[in-house]
Amino acid sequence: MKTKNIIIFSFISTFFLIFLISIWKILATLQGLSINSLNIEILFIFGFLFSLAHLGIGDKIKLFYKSIIFSSIFVFCDGYLIQKLPVWYNVGVFLIIYFFTNKISKYSFTGLKEEHSTQVILFDFLTLFGILFFSFVILFPFYMMLVTSFKTQIALLVNPLDFSINFGQDIKDLFKSYFVIFKSYKFGKYIVTSTIVSVGTVIITLLFAIPAAYAVARLNFFGKTFLSTSILIIYMFPAIVLVIPLYTIFSQLGLRNSIEGLLIVYTATTLPVAIYMLQGYFKSIPKELEEAAILDKLSWFGIITKIIIPLSIPAISSVALYVFMIAWNEFLFSLMFLDNPNSFTLSRAIQYLSGDAETPRQYLMAGSVVVTLPVLFIFVYFEKYLVSGLTAGSVKG
């Protein structure tokens, strides 16, 4: 039983170590280091030996010294004997092994005898593994997007794995792709269009949704239940079904290639969820406040502007941010309705750019960074509001 647990523990921790070092090696390769093998076999042997040695040594040596010893041995073999690699790479490896030894330090011979110990180990390492794995898998494309936008076509042809950024060069050369897309491809104009469309959608949606949500939340009228249930059903209706009829109607009305056309469609598609989210919040506001207002002979307009809106700023902000995000990211309708480059939104402009096979990829990535940054910035800055918006409105997808 005990030996089995020791072996399982060693295996799991070894795989964890292999994973850690491999990610570091991949990142180092992408900085232009010529690492031609991950050396999984050697990593495996080291990982296994370290795990066993850790159990064997136990508390006889202080954790700090133990970590230093392990790290030094590994760095000496990996970064000096097998292949001579630069200092920054070895410092990274050193820190990883240090981190690894600290992580396995809580397991000992006695601990492995306990009931469920292997499952506990598996769970612990899966969590650790998961955190690193998902961070890597998610952030890697974003990282590549950013890094590629600073490279040049020739540099990437010479070495497709060298994504190191030369900060020594002139600012103009470093941000060349950005200068080009703003100068030659009119990205400044597209940013303005996208902003107008998104902010416009937010304002119009709120103007329409707040009164409607108030009515659904507070007033009694014929067709109220029908209205509130149909809101969500309408919301589930796919955009792809609306595209052809809207295209024909908008063509005949001359609304294609116009900001107004986009505003109308975006508002209509976000209205149901905005009403749904707002009415839920309005219901939670105590009724007594309004009853007092009615006694003061305040009209419904007064009630909404003087009582409801000031009290529901958090809900309104999360609806506003959510709607902004949908409108900013929207692609299908902008693809269908816009074919004149003068009225493009950012998303449509990037798609148009990619349609030309000659477009260097760093321009495409610079454009992608430009369209992504505002959304990520808003998301990180207003995360609290946006997350509640996402959860409530997440039927949209």
């Binding site: 506990v120 007033l219 209509a268 299908l332």
Partner: protein, 419 residues
């Protein structure tokens, strides 16, 4: 007294909801009915442009006489396929103008030239010419004359409004469009995308529900793929996976894991042999599903995490006292608590994945075995320009969705009854 109060309340409610209801009805509900209408018609992209009578005004001076002028109108029917009936024409002239030659179809009254041109067949063209002179022999200002635009009017059939219906589109959808293949691809894409994103959602939610350093940061990072614009993400993936210069292939080649680059987005099948069994994997479709999972598992994560945080801690404490293992805790406490959320998520994600257009369109454009129903709507409607066909395909989507919803709620209803 009470009655009037209720009435004003009703009135207010209608006033407050009317703008929103009207907008949603005209942009969402009306098009859905329009879609049914169009799907029974033979309409092509070029048919939906309304035919217009057009005139180009060209002003020519007559040699030696500055007080006379020749005006040439190049008249034409903008449509190549439809006729325009009862075309009327009107143009204004300055007050000192008199007409020299009057066409029998026209009249000149109060400095207005009015003409009735009758019917114009498709592709109709005519050069129509009038000569004017000034009353007082003064010089004519050509520029001013050019600024006045003639007005034309005419009646034409709107192909969308006539009542010629046909079942041809649906016949074509079902029998000439590789319908089974289309349906299977859509089903694979939807099903595996949904299941995958839910599985990853459970894993990540379970992970973030533990306490560790940087947990709030991790929660934001996990949502990045969901909040960032599709266009940017799809093109980044495309560059990463590119067979010639993509980072992934370069890395695998560099580490000698593969010998020749794999075209992950452009290759329909890949042969894999596991334990002596050879089978074909739909490679491009799998890649597209991976992207789908990567982009949408954050939503499942968010839902499930919210549910996990609401599970009472006492349940786990009691399990600890009983000596339950972590896996037992997960399968016997956590999983039953989140089944309701998972079943809602499954429905929502299934419906939305079924209708997903952008992701596949941007990654492969529907090539190499990734043609799903929504992609087909676009291809039929805009690439082949057969609007009627596109509508018919989207009607198929609606019908399938309604069927899915029906079965889903029936099953769910049964389960509720059993409990």
């Amino acid at each position: 007294m009470n009655d009037t109060l209720a009435n004003t309340e009703k009135k207010t409610a209608y006033i407050l909801t009317l703008p929103a209801v009207l907008l949603v009805f005209s942009i969402i509900l009306f098009p859905i009915f329009a879609n049914i209408w169009i799907s029974f018609k033979e309409v092509e992209l070029k048919d939906i442009r309304i035919p217009e009578p057009r005139a180009k005004k060209i002003i020519k001076s007559i040699s030696d006489d500055p007080s006379k002028i020749k005006i040439l109108y190049k008249l034409r029917n903008s449509s190549l396929i439809q006729e325009i009936r009862d075309v009327s024409f009107k143009d204004n002239f300055p007050k000192n103008f008199k007409i020299e030659n009057l066409d029998p179809r026209c009249s000149y009254e109060k400095y207005n030239l009015k003409c009735e041109f009758g019917n114009w067949p498709a592709k109709y063209r005519e050069n129509f010419q009038v000569i004017f002179a000034t009353n007082d022999g003064s010089k004519i200002d050509k520029k001013n004359l050019k600024l006045i635009k003639p007005k034309l009017d005419g009646k034409s059939d709107n192909i969308l409004l006539n009542t010629n219906f046909t079942l041809k589109n649906f016949k074509k959808v079902l029998f000439e469009n590789e319908f089974v293949d289309l349906l299977l691809t859509t089903f694979y894409y939807t099903f595996f995308g949904t299941v995958g994103s839910i599985v990853f959602g459970i894993l990540t939610a379970q992970m973030v529900n533990q306490k560790f350093y940087g947990r709030t940061f991790m929660r934001s990072v996990l949502l990045f793929p969901y909040v960032a614009p599709v266009v940017a993400l799809a093109y980044t993936w495309e560059l990463l996976l590119d067979p010639n210069s993509g980072t992934l292939n370069s890395l695998l080649l560099n580490y000698q894991i593969i010998e020749t680059p794999i075209n992950l987005l452009g290759q329909k099948y890949i042969e894999i042999s596991i334990l002596g069994f050879d089978f074909k994997l739909r490679l491009a479709l799998t890649t597209v599903i991976m992207f789908e999972i990567w982009r949408y598992f954050p939503l499942a994560f968010l839902f499930i995490l919210a549910r996990l945080q609401a599970i009472p801690k006492e349940l786990y404490e009691a399990a600890d006292v009983d000596g339950a293992s972590p896996f037992q805790k997960f399968f016997n406490i956590t999983l039953p608590q989140i089944t309701a959320v998972i079943s809602i998520l499954f429905m929502i994600r299934f419906i939305w994945n079924f209708n997903k257009f952008e992701d596949v369109f941007l990654l492969t454009g529907g090539a190499s075995g990734t043609r799903t129903l929504p992609i087909n709507v676009y291809q039929q409607g805009f690439a082949i320009s057969d609007i009627g066909m596109g509508s018919a395909v989207s009607m198929v989507i609606v019908v399938l969705l309604l069927m899915f919803m029906f079965f889903y709620f029936k099953l769910l209803g049964k389960r509720v009854d059993e409990n």
